[in-house]
């Protein structure tokens, strides 16, 4: 029976795995100590002939209160405070520091709908909502080693873009725009899932994230752009839909 976490191919996934590991150790130790006390008590402190009653104490003496306080403080500082500090650093330095204005970042508009994902990038002119935008259905192509800045919207109900290999997810909410960024370290094809119940075919709302080395990404992009330009039909802008990157964020 294999129980494995999906391989981490992101620059920041190790922060998530680090927290999971720390918590497993910390809570594991706490739990083992607690169970240890419980088991000792269950074995030793049983009613026996000649010992029908327990030690008469209300546990409200000074030393009981100090013990309780001590454990509470240990728990708070060893676990909670450490977690909160680490999380704050990880969030403010990495996850929530968006590549606004980073020229290397690839900007992607993600549209979620029942029950598929579409992705739009700006094309050579660098502007969205122009005929050279590249729109893909179900498959997002990105280059390795560059920040990918994603903004999400939904056309109908709340969905959630889930990238297990990047240890992250973000909701796509109708009427607002949410943002996230990732950066891949390893080329490959990775799965995209939906992580918010969105109706009958929620389970089929799968996509693919194709990470390619810069060279082959450019080659793909050129083909995709040519394709877009050929197929662009001014009378039917919905086929190249997305929404203006700057608006409504």
């Amino acid at each position: 029976m294999r129980i494995e976490i999906p391989p981490d191919v992101s620059v920041d996934g190790h922060l998530v795995d680090g927290v999971l590991g720390y918590l497993t150790w910390a809570t594991g130790i706490l739990f083992l100590v607690a169970v240890g006390v419980l088991v000792v008590s269950l074995v030793r402190d049983r009613a026996r002939p000649g010992r029908a009653t327990g030690a008469y104490t209300h546990g409200d003496r000074r030393r009981d209160q100090l013990l309780t306080l001590a454990v509470g403080l240990i728990m708070f500082f060893a676990v909670d405070a450490v977690l909160a500090a680490r999380a704050h650093r990880a969030l403010s330095d990495r996850f929530w520091r968006y590549p606004d204005g980073d020229p290397r970042a690839l900007r992607v508009e993600v549209t979620a709908r029942q029950w598929s994902w579409t992705f739009r990038t700006a094309g050579p002119d660098g502007r969205f909502a122009t005929p050279d935008d590249v729109v893909t259905l179900g498959e997002l192509h990105v280059p390795v080693g560059r920040p990918i800045f994603l903004k999400l919207r939904s056309k109908d109900v709340v969905h959630s873009l889930y990238l297990p290999n990047f240890r992250t997810k973000l909701d796509a909410i109708p009427g607002s725009t949410t943002r996230m960024w990732i950066e891949a370290t390893t080329p490959g094809t990775y799965e995209i899932g939906c992580a918010q119940h969105c109706g009958t075919s929620h389970y089929k709302m799968r996509g693919l994230l194709v990470v390619e080395p810069e060279e082959s990404y450019r080659a793909w992009l050129e083909r995709a752009e040519t394709d877009s330009r050929l197929r662009y039909d001014a009378a039917h802008p919905a086929a190249a839909e997305g929404w203006d990157w700057e608006h409504g964020s």
Binding site: M1, R2, E4, I5, P6, V16, V19, L23, T27, L38, S41, L42, D45, R46, A47, R48, A52, T53, G54, A55, Y56, T57, H58, G59, D60, D64, V71, G72, M75, F76, V79, D80, L83, A84, R86, A87, A90, L91, D156, V157, V158, P164, R167, T168, K169, D171, I173, P174, G175, S176, T178, E191, G193, A195, Q196, H197, G199, H202, Y203, R206
Partner: protein, 594 residues
């Protein structure tokens, strides 16, 4: 027992002391009763029936996850005949929606709060009944009405609700779920909530006003504290759910747009507003469900370790701290909605802080057991089981409190495992402990200890395996509410684990049959119970089993706390326990003054 003896009546005369004769006609006595003991049993039976229904739904969900697309044996032909016995994707969404809804609102709430709360609170504080007996009756029938609406929703053309028990907008509006079934769900939840608020009004007033002389707040059994604090949360936060339901109803029926984003021209609402309203209720709700369980377990551990509960005051303080904090942590359900960093981190820190009073509560349980003289009766086994599973379940909450970990774990089976370890395992174990413990008082007979232990062991082991298994599924990345995980390549290797969890779940379900047999057999053929089979001092054990309509012949005067076991006072009388109202002459002797 209808008319009280004249001598006793002469002592009463004023206030709640007055004894009213018991009703004699069948309808007044068993159906439209205002006796809290009858109403408590009514809630208990209603809850147990729905527990079974919710449990069967869980088995169906597990079947589909273990054997996607395979027809369900026996039940499949009855329920899913049109699809050849296979659960369809739509049916699956209705299943997990209704499983959650039923378990929370129609099983645990009526069993613990409506059932045991009603039966126990007046008895434990030394009162003849609740403060508002007629309101109590109306509360039960309101809950019964809500079950009718919920049941009816299954039979409408477009089917019942299927947006999850959380019913997020806009999936729960007519955009995502047209049809009257979802609307009926909204109405049923509203009615159910009204019943809870009525109960809260009753319980709070009763505890404040009807405690017997000498029953100070610090002498109440922690069970009463549990019901009291649960009622405070019910009174404050169920109405917020009601507000959300009212607005959802308006969106569905009158075309308003509270939760539907509008255009720049029309203006409109916000789906996230629904989440705020829902979780403002939703987080306190989980504490509403567990507080009675914590109360019961704290008392029972003391009773069966034959020593006072460790740190009574700290426990009460911790419970109150948890109640206060529970109102400001709800945002941890919404970490992936793109909240502002300040808001998100505030919720994270507050959620972590709430782990401290919870840990203190847990520590006090260990302190109660330590150096005790444990009697491992069936109720005690279930309590110890709760301590174990709540330990795991509570600690896994820390994983979800941390935003960085939650980005990965949100909406995976890790969450499912976490809340089932607490909601299903801990709550279920405590409910069973309560049943085994108070069955003699409620029905005048003892349940079988042998069958009780036979029920406990497979239940305890299976609960842990199933839900720890789900923690592992979540760690491996499996999302919630998936009809068929094999759509995703990365989830295919998890099929064996899913199978294992499902097979263990069927065993868990089967083990409950032992309980059903024990319960019904004991109801009719159990050994007649003495007034105080467990030899403990709380007030319900000073009256016959079952208690007469008026509870106490003479209202008690309380002189000590609820867990006075093994005290020198008791030993001086040759026993190891003293009732809360038992008066003991003070004997000055060389032994006492040592």
């Amino acid at each position: 027992m209808t008319a009280p003896p004249a001598a006793i009546e002469a002592h009463q005369g004023e206030g709640e002391d007055a004894i009213h004769p018991a009703p004699t006609r069948f309808l007044r006595r068993y159906v439209f009763s205002t006796d809290h003991k009858v109403i408590g049993r009514q809630f208990l039976f209603l809850g147990l029936v729905f527990l079974a229904v919710g449990g069967v739904m869980a088995m169906l969900i597990r079947w589909q996850l273990a054997r996607p697309g395979v027809p369900v044996p026996i039940l499949g032909r009855v329920l899913y005949g049109r699809s050849g016995g296979v659960i369809s994707p739509v049916a699956y969404t209705a299943l997990f929606t209704m499983h959650g809804t039923i378990m929370i609102f129609f099983a645990v709430t009526p069993i613990l709060i409506g059932g045991f709360g009603n039966f126990l609170v007046p008895l434990l504080i030394g009162a003849r009944d609740m403060a508002f007996p007629r309101l109590n009756m109306i509360s039960f029938w309101t809950m019964a009405a809500s079950t009718s609406v919920l049941t009816a929703s299954f039979f409408v053309p477009l089917g019942t609700a299927n947006a999850g028990w959380t019913a997020y907008a806009t999936l729960s509006t007519t955009i995502g779920t047209p049809g009257v079934g979802q609307t009926m769900w909204v109405v049923a939840i509203y009615l159910n909530g009204s019943a809870s608020v009525m109960g809260a009004v009753n319980y709070i007033t009763t505890v404040i006003r009807l405690r017997a002389p000498g029953m100070t707040y610090m002498r109440m059994p922690i069970t009463v504290w549990g019901f009291f604090l649960t009622s405070v949360l019910n009174a404050l936060f169920v109405p917020v759910l009601a507000a959300g339901m009212v607005l959802l109803f308006f969106d569905r029926v009158f075309g308003t747009q509270f939760f539907i984003a509008g255009s720049t021209i029309r203006g409109g609402g916000d789906p996230i507003l629904y989440q705020h309203l829902f979780w403002l209720f939703g987080h306190p709700e989980v504490y509403i469900l567990i507080l009675p369980a914590w109360g019961v377990v704290t008392d029972l551990l003391a009773f069966f370790a034959r020593k006072p509960a460790f740190g009574y005051r700290v426990t009460v303080g911790a419970l109150i701290a948890i109640v206060v904090l529970s109102s400001v942590v709800y945002g941890h359900h919404m970490f992936t909605t793109g909240m502002s960093p300040l808001l998100g981190e505030s919720f994270m820190v507050l959620t972590m802080i709430i782990s401290v009073p919870t840990a203190l509560l847990f520590l006090n349980w260990l302190g109660t057991l330590w150096r005790g003289a444990m009697r491992l009766t069936t109720p005690m086994l279930f309590c110890v089981g709760l301590v174990f599973t709540f330990g795991i379940g509570g600690l896994t909450g820390l994983f979800l409190a941390d935003i960085v970990a939650d980005m990965y774990l949100h909406d995976t089976y890790f969450v499912v495992g976490h809340f089932h370890l607490i909601m299903a395992a801990a709550l279920l174990l405590s409910s069973f402990a309560a049943v085994y413990f108070w069955f003699p008082k409620m029905f005048g007979r003892m349940m079988s200890e042998r069958l009780g232990k036979l029920h406990f062991w497979p239940t305890f082991v299976a609960l842990n395996l199933v839900f720890i298994g789900q923690l592992l599924l979540g760690y491996a990345g499996m999302q919630r509410r998936l009809y068929d995980p094999s759509v995703y390549d990365f989830l295919r290797p998890l099929l064996p684990l899913n199978r294992f969890i499902s097979d263990t779940a069927y065993l868990l379900g089967a083990a409950q049959l032992v309980f059903v047999v024990n319960f019904f057999w004991s109801l009719f053929r159990g050994k007649p119970a003495e007034p105080n089979p467990w030899q403990v001092g709380t007030l319900e054990w000073t009256v016959p089993s079952p208690p007469p309509h008026h509870n106490f012949d003479r209202l008690p005067t309380v002189v000590r706390g609820p867990h006075e076991l093994g005290s020198p006072e008791a030993r001086a009388r040759g026993k190891d326990w003293l009732a809360q109202d038992e008066i003991v002459e003070i004997v000055e002797s060389a032994e006492e003054s040592r």
